[in-house]
Every structure is written in C-alpha cells, then in structure tokens.
Amino acid sequence: MLEILLDATVRAGTPILFATLGAIINERAGIINLGIEGLMLIGALAGFSGTYLSGSLLIGVLAAFCATFIAGSIHALITVQLRGNQIVSGLALTMFGVGVTALFGKGMVGLTIVGFKRVAIPGLSQLPIVGKAFFNQDVLIYFSFLLVFLIWFFFYRTRWGLGVRSVGENPAAADTCGFSVSKYRFFAVTVGSGFVGIGGAYLSLASTPMWIENMSAGRGWIAVALVIFAGWSSPRAMLGAYLFGGITAMQLRFQAMGTTISAHILQMLPYFFTILVLVISTQRLQKGASQQPEGLGLPYDREDRK
C-alpha cells in the first residue's frame, strides 16, 4: 500500500518538480515568471507532437525544451531588454500558452503514442519501500533527480551560477563587477522556461501518453507557489513537489476506494494546500527567514539614478 502510494507520489510530483526548478532559475536571476502554466501547456503539446510525428520520445522532449525556450524568450525580451512589467508579461504568456495550444492541439486530440516505459535500476530498485517508488521509474524521473543536483551545483559551485544569483540579488553589484546583467537574465529566463517545458512534456509523454486540452490543470500555478515554499533552493523544491504529488496521489486513492467525500472536494485538495503553503511561507518571509532574491521583480536600468 505505502509502496504504491509513494510510487504515485513521485509520478504526480515530477511535472511539478520540473516546473518549479525552471521557475527557480528564472527567479534566481530576478525575473518573476507567471507564465509557467502556459509554458507547461506549450511543452506538453510540443512534446506530444514531436513524439507523434517522429516516433521518438527523445525528439519529443527536445521539441518541448526548444518550444518553451522560444516562448520564454518572448518573456525575456519584454522583461529584460525592454524592462517591461514582469507580472503583466507573465500573465500574458500563460494566456498565450492556453490559447495557442488549444488552437494547434485540435489535430492531436484523440491520437495515441507509446509513452515512457519504466526502467528498473538493478540493485537500488530492490530496496524496501523506496526502491520501487524512486528506482523503478522512467528516464525522465531519473533526469529530474540529476537536474536537482545539477542546478544546485551550477548555482553554488560555478562562476556562471554565481553570476546568475548576483544578478538576481543586486544587479548593480554584478554590473560593476563586469557581468552583463541582461545576458545573464536572458539566459536564465530562456533556459528556465525550457525546463518548465520538459515538465509539461512529462504530462503528455509519461503521465498520460496523449494530448488533452488544458492538461496542466493549474500545476504551473502550484509551481509558482512552490518556489516560495522551497525558498528558491532546488533540493527543497524536490521536497515540495513530492508533497504536492503525495496529496494528489492520496486524493486519487481515496476516490478509487470509493469514499463518501465528494470527488470535487478531493480534487480541490492540492489547490487548497497551495493556499495554505503560501500563507505559511509568507509568514516565514515576514519573520525574516527570507531567501528571496532582493532584486526579484525589479527591472535593471544602469542609468537610473540611485
């Protein structure tokens, strides 16, 4: 029972994990991206179409990354180069994503592909309880484990990562040290958006190997909230994503067991917890345990008189 629940937790948490990691990269460079929901949909459709047309799952994932990389560069252009309002641009990106995928996804509705298969890692998958849940999964899940570590390593052990973090904290300081604020921000927004796209692709290539309109169903918004819960750190994003995955898995389990609680109430649970998490983490923010990048949401203009 616990094994099955844990397995469902990881599978439900992975798309949210990718999206949260992508959003963390964005926000670490100081750019708020509220387009995560739209980017996930674009990634889901691009991933499904890529795989359907080519027959290769790898090409599907790459297509998802590239499509959201391009969509993210719109946000980057507006917020970094043109110093536009990040909130408005992000919301527009979500609306754009919902609309454009509904339009181009019409032809893909009802088609099927062969999705990602489970690959057991010899040895590790035999571990009690956690073995099946973490080491008898598909390749994308293993990639998400690796990505959590890679992002941490990038931020804390490389000069580029230091640059990205500094640009998000105090762009003027990074600028006077010779870092190009716009280059680093542009890079963070586009690459971060690309990872969000892979999260979308996970939905249409692994969770349910098909394209359904608006299939992200608010997971992008959960990711936006999770970034704050995770305190902008990738290992804690993993914890948060699985927490939400667990709630989703549990409510599905309850429904399957046929409780008398209305299905609508159960389906509400993840979103209810999102609100709860935001309340708790904002209170923590006010108490001063803030990890929030100081330059978050602020456009940088070198000649703005300080």
């Binding site: 052990r157 490389t158 000069r159 580029w160 230091l162 640059g163 973090r165 500094s166 904290e169 105090n170 003027a172 300081a173 990074a174 600028d175 006077t176 040290c177 010779g178 870092f179 190009s180 006010q286 108490k287 001063g288 803030s290 990890q291 990048p293 100081e294 070198r302 000649e303 008189r305 300080k306």
Partner: protein
C-alpha cells in the same frame, strides 16, 4: 581639440614634469532629463597621486565617477587613459583598463558570503573554480592588511565599516591601477579612517593612483596631493599641495552662496521632556537594532547622537516618530507613557535627509507644496468645510509658510519632486514645525544639502531650541554635532555608550566611544 589636449598636458607638466598622467578628463558633459549633472569638467590624475574631488553634494562628483567606471555614458567630452582615448560602453571596459571604484552605496550582495562577493569581482577565473585555491588567495590578502574578516559570513551580518574593506579588497584582488573612493570615511570612526589613510598611502607608494571624494575638509587637507573643486557640474579649479588651505578650498567650493547666520543661546533647563528606558527593537532579519537603549532629553536641548552609520540611529528615529514599534522598553514624555500610543505623533515631529532619488522621503512627491504642507493637519477645522477641502485656507497657509521659510517653490501646483533637495527639506520642516512639537527628531537632516540649505536647517534647529523645543540631532559629521549640540550621546550596536560635553571632549574620545569603548575603559 589639439589645443585643449596640450593645455591639460601643460598643466600637469607645470605641476611636476616627471609625473605621467594615467587619466585625463576633457570637457565632460552629462545630462539627465531636466538636469545638467555635469556641465564641463576637465581634470587629470597622475600616476602615484592621491587626487581629491571636492564639492558640495549635487556638484557632480558621483556622476563624474560613474562616467569613469562606465555606468553612465557622457553626452560629450573625452576620456584618456594613459594618453589613449577611450570609449566605455559598460563597467566591464572600465575594469579592463584597471579602474576600480568603491561606491558610496556599496556594490555588494548582502545575502552572499564575503567569499562569494570577492569572487564575483575577479576576472580570469575558470567557470569550474577551485574554492580552496581562491579562498587561500583571498585570505592571504586579508591577512596582509590585518583585517578581521571571516570568508563564510554573509555580508549583511557585517558592520558597514567591514563592508567597505570588502569593497577595497575586491579592487586590490583585481590589481586596479586607478582606485576611486567615494566618501569612504562617512561610515568609519576617526580611528578607522586613519587606518584607511595608511592603506591609501601604501598603495600610493606602489605607484597606484587614487581619486578620493570627500567634503570633509580635515581629511582633504591630510591626504591630498592635488585637489580639484567641482561646483554645479563644472571643474572650477585644481590646486597642488602647499597651494591650498582650508579657507581657500572652502571659499572656492561654496563661492558666493550665502550661509544663514545664527546664534545659539544656552538655556537648557533640567526638566526631562523625553525619557527612553530599556528600549529594544528588532529588525526584519531578527537582529537587534536597538538593544536595551536609554536616553534622556532635556527641555530646550539639542542632543547630538554620534555613531557610525548602522548602529541603530535609524531605528531610534523610526521608533520615536512612530514608523516602527518597540519590542521592549518604554518611552516617557513628561512621565507619561507614550510608547505605543498615538500621542507620539503630536508630541514628536521628525525630519530626515532627502535622498537623491526622492523615493523615500517624508512627502508625497507628486503632490503640490500646498497639499504637502497640510498633510499633518488636514483634518483640523481650518482646512476643511465639512468633508470638502477649504482651498482658500490651504493656499493661504502655503503662502505664509513659503514666505516664512523662504521656500523656492516654483509655479503654484508644481509637484514637490521637482524642487531641489534643500527646498524639499524646507517644506518638510515647515510642515513638521507647524504643530509646535515638543521634540524634533532630525535624522541626517543636512545630508545631501548644499551648504546654504544646511545652514538654514541648523538655524531652524537652533531657533527652535530658543523657543524651548528639544531636538535629537542624528548626524554623521562630527564637526556638525560639535558645533550644534548641547550634549552628545554616543551609540554603538544599538546601545548608549555615554554622554560627552561637546565643549570639553576630543574627537579621539568620541571616536573611541563610537567603536564601543565606554569612557571608563580608558583608565
């Protein structure tokens, strides 16, 4: 063009024929929307020279240095580095020429560790760097200057003085040939400033050039080889050591501006109007801004508060004027507890410095002078007819105040943001004093003002004392405190260290107290 180049060459030859110029500025002009920040500035810096830029606030010193470091593009004029004409498109280009600057507002990332902040400034380090190697390299330099810096501490935990050393280390690690220091002593005790000057002299011996920006005459006299005076965006004179003294520099800097005269009479009574007991205030980061702080203010007294910036002065002003709440302790006004009561607002008035960006000041920048002047009293009967504004009374009030405080307000209805810093300060003073408060809290009231306006602020405070108003004057310039105060209280890390008598004390004594030594320790 050729002529002007020769002209500046001749100038430097005249000073010392062996000196070679590392930097030449020629006819630099820089405008911002509606403001001419630099009109026509020319000056040069020789190798191994400490060259001081002297000028009032707003004379263009910082703007000029931002042009040098590539943050601003000049509209006109030329920059030559070692004789070669240069166009900077970003700070990167300027760094590549060996120019480094310690900005007045530090360019540090507060959330990052000391190590990461210094690492950020280094170029030519590989993307996958070895933490151990670079930690050792940086530690070596820290040891060389005998500094007490832990590489893993986040910068926000450090004192402002320590943060300044990090900025300096950043430049030294890069091996900069021309160092710019923008008002570095504003955040140091006199003793720390002496230590900084020793480091600067050492760097000078290594043939490095230093541009030193200050408006404290004493320091300028002590350290400069040459002084260039800026006034209203123009370079008006350059003087060599031996060719200047305090009074010539001051007269060049101020020119014909009139400084209001005032006379302070000593008429302090022993009645205590404000008694602060065991006050503690914690900031957003959970650290104590004020820690068991005690202070007594007498009627008609100007009580100066001395201390290095960041030792709780701002929190004190914010608590007294009601912007912040206390965690512990009491504030008594004539034995009445007003700690968290609204009585604070009418009993205590506050003024603070006017920041350059006009963003966080005690006025509504987009509203007119008339409206800003009644902000404290708009509810009172005289300015309203039932629920409507009484425009006529508001206008009349404004005319009176503009006349009384000599505010240059421009045409009626001009948003306050377009006024000069000095005039904005006058609007705030006029408003705050309109209700005749018993206590005035002045937080760096003259920072950013030209000398004429600063003199006016002093006059208002002194006149207020004559009428029996008590003032808590928080300032960073010891000379200002010594001149104006009846008593000086010294703060360190949110605690009161002690009181001194400005007529009897020495700068050294205050300096020691500013670094936390209680007067008794000396013996």
């Amino acid at each position: 063009m050729v002529l002007s180049f020769h002209h500046s060459l001749c100038e430097s030859i005249y000073i010392d024929c062996h000196m070679t110029d590392i930097l030449n500025f020629e006819n630099i002009r820089k405008t911002f929307p509606g403001v001419i920040a630099l009109d026509d500035v020319s000056f040069s810096v020789a190798r191994g020279e400490i060259h001081t830029l002297l000028g009032e606030n707003g004379a263009g010193k910082s703007t000029l240095m931002n042009v040098l470091t590539g943050l601003y593009h000049p509209d006109r004029g030329q920059i030559r580095i070692a004789g070669e004409q240069i166009h900077f498109t970003s700070p990167r280009d300027s760094l590549a020429c060996g120019i480094g600057m310690v900005h007045q507002h530090f360019m540090l990332v507060p959330a990052h560790s000391v190590f990461e902040n210094i690492l950020l400034a280094l170029d030519n380090i590989p993307n996958f760097y070895s933490r151990k190697t670079y930690k050792q390299k940086i530690q070596k330099l820290i040891d060389e200057f005998d500094l007490d810096l832990d590489l893993d501490t986040p910068v926000w935990r450090l004192s402002i003085g320590a943060q300044q050393w990090i900025e300096l280390i950043k430049l030294l690690m890069r091996d900069c040939q021309l160092l710019v220091l923008d008002e570095p002593t504003a955040v140091l005790t006199p003793q720390e400033a002496d230590r900084l000057f020793n480091v600067l002299r050492k760097l000078k011996q290594q043939e490095k050039s230093i541009i030193f920006i200050s408006h404290k005459m004493r320091e300028v006299m002590e350290i400069s080889d040459r002084v260039t005076i800026l006034k209203k965006g123009r370079s008006i004179a350059t003087r060599t050591r031996g060719d200047f003294d305090e009074s010539t520099l001051a007269s060049l800097m101020i020119g014909r501006d009139k400084v209001p005269q005032w006379q302070k009479t000593l008429q302090m009574s022993d009645e205590i109007v404000l008694d602060i007991q065991n006050l503690s205030v914690r900031n957003d980061r959970g650290m104590s801004d004020l820690d068991d702080f005690n202070l007594q203010l007498k009627k008609g007294e100007i009580l100066g508060i001395a201390g290095v910036a960041g030792n709780g002065q701002k929190a004190l002003a914010e608590v007294l004027t009601g912007l912040k709440n206390t965690n512990q302790g009491r504030i008594l006004a004539r034995q009445k507890d007003i700690t968290n009561s609204n009585a604070r607002y009418s009993y205590i008035a506050g003024i603070a410095h006017i920041p350059e960006d006009r963003k966080s000041i005690g006025i509504a920048p987009d509203m007119s002078v008339d409206e800003n002047l009644i902000m404290k009293s708009f509810k009172s009967g005289s300015f309203r007819n039932w629920i409507f504004q009484n425009k006529k009374a508001i206008r009349q009030n404004a005319e009176e105040k503009i006349e009384q405080f000599a505010i240059k307000s421009g045409p009626d209805g001009t948003p306050v943001r377009y006024l000069s810093g000095g005039n904005i300060q006058k609007v705030i003073i006029a408003r705050e004093l309109s209700e005749h408060p018993a206590v005035l809290v002045a937080l760096y009231p003259t920072r950013g003002l030209d000398i004429g306006s600063a003199g006016y602020v002093h006059k208002v405070i002194a006149d207020g004392a004559d009428r029996g108003m008590s003032t808590i004057l928080i300032a960073e310039d010891l000379d200002e405190l010594l001149k104006l105060s009846d008593r000086i209280a010294v703060m360190f890390r949110g605690k009161l260290i002690g009181y001194v008598n400005p007529r009897k004390t020495t700068r050294e004594e205050i300096g020691l107290m500013m670094s936390g030594e209680t007067p008794g320790d000396k013996a």
